[in-house]
């Protein structure tokens, strides 16, 4: 009799936890979503920059051509690892694979909880809360408060050069990181080959498509990778591991 009561109260507690985290996870995420859109919207609408709606849509569609697949695939991929409550944290805080997941694993190891159990889920959730607070603190202090000061002690001509080459200095590293972490040599070859053809053959031949180069490369790479994929079973399992 008493054990039944314990079970019912505990499942009621878990249901309450589920309700609270789902409701407030969603509310806070929607708030972050609205606030994060409000800033650029303010500039576009009220800063008198003469920006047309068409310009915004074209830019967004070009970005969507590249990232739309990931919008959908990433939440599906991370759900089994994160669980519903942590989903609302993770996609707001960012840097999931390199910061949040390691934090969750370390915490589970620290208290000997297994992933997939309730203990594991709670441990991961608390770990992500801890990681979030550290990250928020560091960002606000070192970037928000001290960032401009740090930048201002650097000579202006260095900043100007840095601004000019910041993008190539990110992109080289990111490509190497992607190639190593995705471990898809075939797709990598197809992507680089397609990019070279688009940039050095297609665009010089038809300069009008220069603005679409990245979108064309992405779509072509996706289609070619799909049709040229290794169909042997042993290969596909090797690539997944």
């Amino acid at each position: 009799m008493s054990s039944t009561t314990v079970i019912t109260t505990s499942s009621a507690d878990l249901a309450a936890f589920d309700r609270t985290t789902s409701r407030w996870g969603r509310i806070t995420m929607i708030a972050a979503l609205v606030l994060s859109l409000a800033a650029p919207l303010y500039l576009v609408l009220f800063a008198d920059l003469g920006i047309t709606q068409t310009q915004v849509w074209i830019a967004f569609l070009a970005v969507a051509a590249v990232f739309s697949v990931l919008w959908v695939v990433e939440p599906i991929t991370y759900y089994p690892i994160l669980g519903p409550a942590a989903m609302y944290q993770a996609f707001m805080i960012g840097n999931i694979a390199n910061k949040l997941l390691p934090s969750a694993l370390v915490a589970q190891a620290a208290i000997g909880a297994k992933a997939g159990t309730k203990r594991g889920e709670f441990s991961a959730l608390m770990a992500i809360c801890g990681a979030a607070m550290v990250h928020v603190f560091f960002m606000l202090v070192f970037v928000g408060l001290l960032g401009s000061t740090l930048v201002s002690i650097v000579p202006t001509e260095v900043i100007d050069v840095a601004r000019l080459y910041i993008f190539p200095s990110i992109i080289g590293a990111v490509i190497v990181q992607l190639i190593v972490s995705l471990k898809q040599p075939r797709v990598t070859m197809i992507a680089v080959g397609t990019a070279v053809v688009v940039f050095f053959v297609l665009v010089p031949a038809v300069p009008a498509i220069a603005n679409l180069a990245t979108g064309i490369t992405v779509v072509t790479t996706a289609v070619l990778s799909w049709f040229l994929r290794s169909k042997r079973r042993s290969d596909s399992t090797k690539e997944n591991s």
Binding site: A16, G25, T28, M29, A31, S36, A38, A39, Y42, A47, L49, I58, A59, A62, V66, F67, L70, W71, V73, P75, I76, P84, M92, G94, N98, S103, A107, I111, K118, R119, F122, M126, C129, G130, A131, A132, V136, F138, M139, F142, V151, A162, L164, Y165, I166, F167, P168, S169, I170, A173, V174, I175, V180, Q184, I190, A195, F200, A213, T221, R229
Partner: protein, 251 residues
């Protein structure tokens, strides 16, 4: 430094509009949403802890372990963020690079958006209006990630079988192809600019390669997180020396 008034479409003084107080308020609001969420989650976890078979001490241990584990990766993000301040201004960097997105996706989005306006990040074509459109496009893309999370999480919770039955080969190949295609294209695009751009891409790639190699060979996991920061710093040093020794065309 900020000389022109806000709202000069052709001006390259990005920070004049990128650091407007209004943008600061919105950025701090996003941080407030995360802090609020954390407080609510911690409270909810404390109440339900006995039911989940976890003790209050273990909750505290988990929180602390997560916090300590995040110090390194978080400082690595700080380094990258500071490097991007002159490009996007503090509020945009705080929200886009520090939180929702990452340095890689957001600079890629910004670059793609700038290209649609016939401009490139950081040079003379990178005007206030280009910045505003790029900022808008990357924020919309980030919003789509959150919308997908808001829509998919309840569906996945119900165990929607259609989502789980997606062909695993498709799930493995298409996202990888999209990412590799996008970044290969953006990287190759840099090769069409100046010798300094090419040198910078190669230096950055080499540093990341070295970091990942050392990380694996000598079991130094932290190098994986700091790789991007180191690549940017060394890439920029290489770019600066090449630029000032006259490898770049006279602008």
């Amino acid at each position: 430094m900020i000389t022109s008034l806000p709202g000069d479409p052709g001006s390259t003084e990005i920070l004049a509009i990128a650091n407007l107080p209004v943008l600061w308020i919105f950025a701090v609001g996003v941080f407030a949403a995360i802090i609020l969420q954390t407080i609510i989650y911690v409270r909810a976890a404390r109440i339900a802890a006995p039911a989940a078979g976890i003790s209050p001490t273990e909750l505290k241990t988990s929180f602390r372990a997560g916090a300590v584990a995040a110090i390194g990766p978080s400082l690595a993000v700080v380094l990258v963020s500071v490097a991007l301040l002159s490009l996007f201004g503090t509020p945009a960097v705080l929200v886009r690079v520090g939180l929702v997105g990452s340095a890689a996706t957001e600079t890629a989005s910004a670059s793609i958006a700038a290209t649609t306006m016939g401009a490139a990040l950081g040079d003379a074509s990178y005007t206030q209006s280009v910045f505003a459109v790029a900022f808008m496009a990357m924020s919309l893309s980030g919003a789509m990630w959150m919308i997908a999370t808001l829509v998919l999480t309840p569906l996945l919770k119900r165990g929607d079988s259609r989502l789980r039955s997606v062909n695993p080969a498709l799930m493995a190949i298409i996202p990888a192809a999209a990412l590799l295609g996008a970044f290969a294209s953006l990287g190759i695009g840099e090769f069409g600019k100046t010798p300094v751009h090419i040198l910078t891409v190669l230096a950055s790639a080499a540093v990341m390669g070295a970091c990942l190699l050392v990380a694996r060979r000598f079991d130094q996991g932290w190098l994986r997180e700091w790789g991007l920061g180191f690549s940017i710093v060394i890439g920029l040093i290489v770019a600066y020396s090449a630029h000032t020794t006259g490898l770049a065309p006279v602008a």
